[in-house]
């Protein structure tokens, strides 16, 4: 991949800030982004496509009379377009209303080193290499069992870099790589089709196990062929990372965002120092987790990434802050401003949401369950109440655990409850930590969850 140089991106960001100040901005910030990816796609059992996407752009935030204006462009090689974009940001700010709570852009602070996020081997990958990884994954899946049908999947190599500069002295450049392979499968037997099962492996360095992904996606689908109905009751659940990622993103993580707390739309408001989950739960937001999928040197405003203790043995310790919400409380940003590339202004999001693992192996956790369910994929987590944490979702499928062993699968099992009650009922955590999007977590064993069967 031919990528933009660090100096090129930084000097563009700095020159934009200078132009904005000259044209009348009280403060200015420029964010230069480059994303490149090559992908190979699997559809209906075979590799059918390849793509290459190059996306570069510039986002400019200016402040005029305490009002914030933002403009972006994806034409960054032409000086006049860049200047026009500055003017559009200024005109947006001038059209807007002053914000009495605005207390300045982020200031420069020392950066820590973000480890294991950039691997030149990923940059050197060619389409041929990705196709070979895809073949390996497909072969692994189909040799498990003839009833397995790989529905879709793919292999992708991504390069991301960004540079930021602002009028408070921030300047930073960061680059990273990601490689990912994934496979969705169903198993078919006669007229019976299982729900879609899914596995993936994503890493920052070129170290993925396509063979495992293929085998595991196939194993899950085959194991979903044998079904059994489930009755309505309160029961034990093992939540795997798939279920946790979905559920926590729309409930707990929302409640931890300082913006939601300050605006009275978080059930955790006013609860710092109080017990909010069971004692065995400790959670960090760790923007520097080595090799984490969201690990970076700095956030979308140039504030340093850091490791923030959120919940310590069940006690709420902190919230996720960006520069704006932190200044409102005379605090420092926790480095949780993120951006959707150059297209958006920064907003609060967790980086790597790290639930500290426990001692139990996966097998031990399962063996502790006399009668319960293990949950992989959820439907409808996004329809949870983001303020109260109440959820009413469907597990498709859920596998039954009987006398310490996973048995048959049950379709369309509804789970209902409140995330804070569920986290209060966590009786054990696995040692099987895994990265999934922003989540780094083990399996959780949760007691007494309402399950509604057919």
């Amino acid at each position: 991949m031919a990528t933009l140089e660090k100096d090129q991106m930084l000097s563009l960001a700095e020159s934009v800030v200078a132009v904005a100040l000259r044209k009348g901005a009280a403060e200015a910030e420029a964010y230069v982004y480059e994303g490149q990816s090559i992908n190979t796609g699997i559809e209906r059992g075979q590799v059918t496509k390849g793509n290459k996407i190059v996306d570069r752009g510039l986002g400019i935030r200016v402040i005029v009379n305490r009002a914030v204006g933002f403009a972006y462009t994806n034409t960054i090689e032409e000086q006049n377009t860049v200047e026009e974009t500055v003017l559009r940001a200024l005109s947006a700010a001038r059209a807007s209303k002053p914000d009495p709570d605005w207390r300045g852009l982020a200031e420069k602070k020392p950066y820590s080193v973000a480890e294991k996020i950039y691997d030149t081997k990923i940059l050197e990958l060619r389409a041929e290499d990705l196709v070979n990884v895809a073949f390996k994954m497909l072969d692994a899946a189909t040799t498990v069992d003839k009833r397995v049908f790989p529905v879709e999947g793919g292999v992708g190599a991504v390069y991301l870099s960004n540079a930021i500069a602002n009028s408070s002295g921030i300047e930073g450049f960061d680059q990273g790589t990601i490689i990912e392979c994934s496979l969705a499968t169903v198993a078919k037997e006669g007229s019976k089709v299982t729900p879609v099962c899914f596995e993936f492996n994503a890493e920052r360095s070129y170290d993925i196990d396509a063979n495992w992904v293929g085998k595991e996606a196939a194993r899950l689908a085959v194991s979903a062929l044998k079904t059994e109905r489930i009755e309505t009751k309160n029961t034990k659940l093992i939540l795997t990372q798939f279920a946790l990622q979905d559920l926590l993103y729309f409930t707990l993580i929302n409640a931890l965002k300082a913006d939601n707390v300050q605006r009275g739309q978080s059930a955790l408001k006013g609860k710092i120092g109080e017990k909010v989950t069971s004692e065995n739960i400790t959670i960090y937001d760790d923007g520097l987790f080595p090799g984490g999928l969201r690990t970076a040197t700095f956030d979308g405003e140039g504030a340093p990434h850091q490791k923030t203790l959120l919940i310590e043995k069940g006690i709420l310790r902190n919230f996720l802050y960006d520069n704006y919400t932190a200044k409102k409380e005379n605090k420092a940003s926790t480095g949780n401003a993120v951006r959707a590339g150059y297209l958006s202004t920064p907003f609060i999001e967790s980086t790597n949401f790290h639930i500290i693992p426990g001692e139990a192996t996966a097998e031990e956790l399962i063996s502790e369950v006399d009668d319960g369910l293990i949950i992989y994929y959820l439907q409808g987590a996004h329809s949870s109440n983001p303020v109260s944490g109440e959820f009413s979702v469907v597990a498709t499928p859920a596998w039954k655990i009987k006398k310490g062993e996973i048995t048959r699968c049950s379709r369309g099992v509804m789970l209902a409850g409140n995330i804070f009650e569920a986290l209060n009922n966590v009786s054990a955590l696995g040692s099987n930590e895994r990265k999934m999007g922003q989540l780094i977590a083990p399996w959780l064993l949760v007691e007494n969850v309402k399950v509604i069967g057919k």
Partner: protein, 460 residues
């Protein structure tokens, strides 16, 4: 522009051995606002341009996207696309072919009453601020209100190697309004969206009613009770019917998902629902959020009948799946922008009305639920659906009772459609955004309906 794009397609077919090539150049302008409790968080304006290139070589797809109109960059991107396809085709058993479609040369120009691109940012801020304040002041129990506003205008120029050349204006206006209320540790959350392809005038007309709806619901839900978990008869409002049609059936009727092991592939021509069930996916509803004239493969949008009186009559196709099913392309291939390839997406998906009044739907229910408005929904290829509800009421002896919060419904589509035993005579379409890797603007809707029995997720 047309000349460069044609030249690119020519190079793909003549120099790189592509059997098909297309180029889609787009220029998009966006204006966006985020408001929170009477504060403008940021006023945003963006311009983006780029070209999507897609080719078939040896029966495999190659795709490249580049954020530039520079001829040299485009030539190199086209070479990349062809190379990606060639490499992907290495072990291909079934070559991809495209169904024939008429070549089209057209220029689609929109003439909105009020072009959002012509409306000053000041005016957009003034309008949204008024609504934001009205919601906050509606009741002191309302703690927060967020409004996200977006308008998108631009042009798309599509040219393929078969001679189709379509220039098409784009226009979308959209807003989402959310409010949260709190009382004695009970938190509620309420959401509405508005969206149109017609023009900015939508806002002047709709904002006031929408904001009152959002505020009223957030407050009313504070005293709502938890639903019972289990099977109950339910009446669904048009808004919930819409998302049910979209999630529980619509995705299964997307031909790519049907081919990927979805349950509908084996049910074409078969009866999968009661006689009262008729569904359409319609790209031609004037001004609706999911409407357009041509899709991103140059195929005209149409009104597609999916189920008639309970029998599956068709699927939503692109040219590739139409060829596989030996069907006509239905104009459902849509790409969010030039960064991505077109995939099969819904447009305006709805259930056709029949003859019941709302009171008649309720009158035979001793105990059940009226689900009026949804919060979200999701489906699985095996036909399991989930719809989360943000506004619900008990039905007791044929009358509406207490408000109910945080319910959801679930079931198997193929079983549930048979349980639709009464369909109302009213009709409403509501705008939304659908995620399938990319975001598409759509509408969902229908009349009120009654389902004899459905699984309700509840906490008590």
């Amino acid at each position: 522009m047309e000349e460069i794009l044609s030249k690119l397609n020519e190079i793909a077919t003549q120099k790189f051995g592509a059997e098909y090539a297309e180029a889609r150049a787009q220029k998009l302008n966006k204006a966006m606002l985020t408001l929170k409790e009477g504060r403008v968080e940021a006023a945003k304006q963006g311009i983006e341009k780029g070209v999507a290139l897609r080719v078939l070589v040896n029966g495999a797809w190659g795709f490249a996207s580049v954020g530039s109109f520079n001829a040299e960059s485009l030539m190199s991107a086209m070479a990349d696309a062809c190379r990606m396809a060639k490499i992907a085709s290495k072990r291909l058993k079934t070559r991809i072919k495209l169904a024939d479609t008429k070549t089209v040369v057209d220029h689609v120009q929109l003439k909105p009453k009020k072009d959002p691109a012509e409306v000053q940012m000041e005016e957009k801020i003034k309008t949204t601020l008024t609504v934001n304040k009205a919601i906050i002041e509606y009741d002191q129990r309302i703690k927060s209100c967020t409004i996200d506003y977006m308008d998108l205008t631009g042009t798309s120029c599509f040219i393929n190697s078969e001679g189709t050349c379509i220039k098409q204006d784009k226009l979308y206006v959209w807003a989402r309004i959310t409010a949260a209320a709190m009382l004695n540790g009970v938190f509620t959350f309420s959401r509405e969206e508005i969206g149109s392809t017609e023009g900015y005038e939508l806002f002047d007309n709709m904002l006031e009613t929408i904001s009152e709806k959002v505020a009223k619901r957030a407050v009313e839900q504070l005293s709502a009770k938890q639903p019972k978990g289990g099977k109950f008869p339910v009446v669904l409002g048009p808004n919930v019917v819409g998302v049910f049609v979209h999630e529980a059936f619509g995705h299964l009727a997307e031909a790519d998902l049907a081919l990927a092991g979805g349950v509908l592939a084996d049910n074409l021509g078969k009866k999968i629902g009661s006689d009262l069930v008729t569904f359409y996916d319609d790209g031609t509803v004037n001004g609706a959020f999911g409407s357009y004239k041509y899709d991103d493969e140059g195929v005209p949008a149409q009104k597609t009948l999916l189920i008639k009186d309970g029998v599956v009559t068709g699927l939503m196709h692109n040219r590739e799946t139409a060829q596989k099913f030996n069907a006509e392309p239905t104009g459902n291939a849509r790409a969010e922008d030039f960064r991505v390839e077109p995939i099969i997406r819904m447009r305006n998906t709805y259930m056709a009305p029949r003859d019941y009044t709302f009171e008649e739907l309720l009158e035979d229910i001793a105990f059940g639920y009226y689900f009026k408005s949804f919060r979200g929904g999701q489906a699985n290829l095996d036909g399991t659906f989930q719809v989360g509800i943000q506004e619900a009421y008990e039905i007791i002896n044929g009358e509406l009772g207490a408000a109910v919060r945080n319910a959801s419904i679930s079931g198997s589509t193929l079983e549930t459609l048979f349980k639709v035993d009464a369909v109302g005579k009213d009709f409403e379409l509501a705008p939304g955004r659908c995620g399938k890797g990319q975001t598409a603007f759509v509408c969902d809707g229908g009349p009120h309906i009654r389902i004899r029995e459905v699984l309700v997720g509840g906490n008590t």
